[in-house]
């Protein structure tokens, strides 16, 4: 992958990574492995017919969401599109609530109402989970606006795909972000494809997609996503810019999805070669890359990491058992969470008719 900006010469040495303890580094490994095992288990159950709708897997991209989540302070926020499982687990949502949501159960993070594409945890500064391509990009801007309006020193990390960059709402957001100096970081997770369309077939660009920021006089960056140190170093710099100068950044992080666009993507081996997929699996697996770092640094042994793997697998399996055993939502719940006023049976909810079932 050609990068429009140079890689960090020694990302491990960057101050933000120097702060990591051995335990922190092992935790980062655990987090990535948990995402992978969670998704592999969800895939089995999807294929067994226990879920509906779409399942967009993040396998191969784990370092991006986990690296970014690891940088979040108390006033930093995250929002993304429908490929949202890793960000959710990254900010600390539990496997149980996430798996139960896929099964459409009442114990799911959105009570079975949202499904795979719609995980939310405002208590963890995680604002979803959005199904309309680029629909989340003005919302990310809004989080940044809210922070600035309320006088908080924080930032909004707003993720989008390489296909999403061509939506008008995103371009409007870039202009507003730069015009009003809003602390938003747009992170294009460039996995090379939007469904079956390669970047070359969907986007007009010069050196890279993030370079479009030039037109708005906005800072931009482009880096490789497979190494956690690099993700943390580069996104960390953008966070500093947001925190200290209240300035936006357009980041592009090159990564790769191993699976189809969603599990239903029948053409997943038609618009790209087997060779290409295998090359990424073999040489650019973010978990293997990080494992090699940990072992080379003497932070962990193969055996330590195997144990983490087994624990993650067990946790994912247990979450599926939890999901299976959980009840479906009650039929009445269809009408809950529509209006705040009717949920809370306020005086306002008594005035006028809110629902129109005959």
């Amino acid at each position: 992958m050609a990068l429009a900006k140079d890689p960090t010469p020694n990302p491990a040495a960057s101050p933000i990574n120097q702060k990591l303890t051995a335990d922190d580094k092992i935790e980062l490994y655990r987090k990535m492995v948990r995402v992978r095992r969670f998704e592999q288990v969800s895939l089995q159950h999807y294929q067994a017919g226990r879920m509906g709708g779409f399942l967009h897997l993040y396998i191969g991209q784990e370092s991006v969401a986990i690296g970014c989540a690891s940088l979040m302070g108390a006033n930093d926020h995250m929002i993304t599109a429908y490929r949202d499982h890793a960000h959710a687990l990254g900010v600390g949502m539990s496997m149980n609530e996430c798996m139960a949501e896929l099964f459409g159960k009442a114990t799911g993070c959105s009570k079975g109402k949202g499904g795979s594409m719609h995980y939310f945890a405002p208590d963890k500064n995680y604002w979803g989970g959005h199904g309309i391509v680029a629909g989340q990009t003005p919302l990310g801007l809004g989080l940044a606006y809210g922070l600035k309006f309320r006088g908080l020193k924080g930032a909004a990390m707003c993720f989008l795909g390489d296909g999403a960059v061509n939506q008008g709402a995103f371009h409007e957001s870039l202009n507003l972000a730069a015009l009003w100096d809003l602390p938003v970081i747009y992170i294009i997770e460039n996995n090379g494809y939007s469904m079956g369309t390669s970047q070359e077939r969907s986007s007009a660009y010069g050196k890279c997609l993030a370079e479009r920021a030039e037109g708005y006089g906005m800072a931009w960056d482009h880096c490789l996503g497979e190494n956690l140190y690099e993700v943390r170093a580069r996104v960390g710099a953008a966070l500093d810019r947001a925190h200290n100068e209240s300035k936006p950044t357009l980041m592009e992080i090159s990564t790769y999805r191993w699976e189809g666009h969603s599990v239903a993507d029948a053409n997943k081996m038609k618009y790209r070669t087997k060779d290409e997929v295998e090359r990424f699996q073999r040489d650019h697996d973010p978990i293997q890359v990080w494992k090699a770092v940990l072992i080379a640094e003497g932070v962990a042994t193969e055996a330590d990491l195997k144990k983490i793997d087994r624990e993650a697998q067990a946790e994912a399996d247990a979450s599926a058992e939890f999901a299976k055993a959980s009840p479906y939502p009650e039929p009445e719940s269809i009408f809950e969470d529509v209006y705040w006023e009717t949920d809370n049976k306020t005086e306002a909810s008594e005035i006028g008719r809110h629902f129109f079932n005959d």
Partner: protein, 331 residues
């Protein structure tokens, strides 16, 4: 043996025939060409017709739908696919303020012969943002036409009419029906050499004498099932009227049916508030009040955003059982 083809293939045949018939026709949308369509409606068309007639677009609905409207002003006949009709919201300003209004505001100097098509249905657990059924919203705008075929035969004939129509036509299909088969004669079996169904003609899908079940789109299939249950289990003869096109609307066929049965239930997968059923119920009471033996009833989807949870979504949408119960309530 009559020829049986799927709803998906019926739409594809119509596109294929219209591309062949009129060099101005171009099919455009996300993944319609090289990927053969997210739901395979355009399977094989790019191989056959190439880049000029089948165009893959970036994910820029406002941009490419607006472009299609602009090109249609110059006589191009774009057939634009929305991967899901739900994404109309991204292109809404273009559709309404340009597509539906440019003819009026130019005093009739400009036409917009565009078709916007794609699936508009719930029932597949894709969540609230992907399950919109905006036929009532589209039909609310004079200048726009709206078609919701319930089966392969109608889908083919209506698509051909939609493409030849000189006004913007919103054509709503269903992912739940794409794989279902119906009898659709091949062109050489037809007197005119083609299947063409003008917009604005409803169709009685089942004759009956006791009650009219009126519907559009996939809800017609639900009504046929309900009619079977009413007949077999309750000895009630239900007539099923399929609107086919929402606007223009065939009022006479509806009125004739209700004047015969004296009872009507409107069934739709849309939400109740200002739904198609609301318009039909108004029209019936206003035109043939004296023919009615009971108030017109409606069965709609339960009035909340589409829930994800698969078993819950199944009860949110109209079922044959609910239609039967509604019918029994007035029979």
């Amino acid at each position: 043996m009559p020829r049986r083809i799927t709803y998906r293939d019926a739409v594809r045949e119509a596109l294929d025939e219209e591309i062949a018939r009129d060099p101005m026709v171009v099919v455009m949308g996300e993944e319609v060409a090289q990927y053969n369509g997210a739901y395979k409606v355009t399977q094989g068309l790019w191989d056959k017709w190439g880049d000029k007639r089948l165009v893959d677009t970036p994910i820029s609905e406002a941009g490419f739908i607006g472009m299609g409207i602009g090109a249609s002003m110059l006589g191009v006949r774009p057939v634009m696919e929305l991967m899901f009709w739900s994404f109309y919201t991204v292109a809404w300003d273009q559709i309404v303020n340009n597509g539906a209004m440019v003819r009026y505001m130019s005093g009739g100097k400009i036409n917009c012969p565009i078709v916007i098509r794609g699936p508009a249905n719930g029932g597949t657990s894709v969540g609230a943002t992907h399950s919109h059924t905006p036929e009532n919203i589209m039909a609310n705008f004079p200048g726009m036409k709206c078609v919701c075929p319930s089966n392969a035969y109608d889908a083919k004939g209506l698509m051909k009419a939609a493409i030849r129509d000189n006004d913007p036509v919103m054509f709503m299909e269903s992912t739940k029906l794409y794989g279902e088969e119906w009898d659709v004669p091949s062109n050489d079996e037809l007197p005119n050499g083609e299947l063409f169904i003008p917009l604005g003609l409803a169709d009685v899908k089942r004759e009956g004498t006791d009650i009219s079940l009126i519907a559009h789109g996939k809800a017609v299939i639900t009504c046929l099932e309900a009619a079977r249950i009413l007949e077999e289990e309750h000895g009630i003869s239900a007539e099923v009227v399929d609107l086919r096109s929402i606007r223009p609307l065939d009022e006479e066929t509806i009125l004739n049916s209700v004047a015969k049965t004296h009872r009507a239930v409107y069934v739709e997968e849309n939400k109740p508030f200002c739904g198609i059923g609301a318009q039909i119920a108004y029209m019936i009471q206003e035109r043939i009040f004296d023919e009615l033996d009971a108030p017109v009833q409606r069965v709609c989807s339960l009035d909340a955003p589409a829930i994800y949870s698969p078993p819950l979504e199944a009860i949110q949408l109209p079922t044959a059982e609910v239609v039967v119960a509604k019918a029994l309530g007035i029979c």
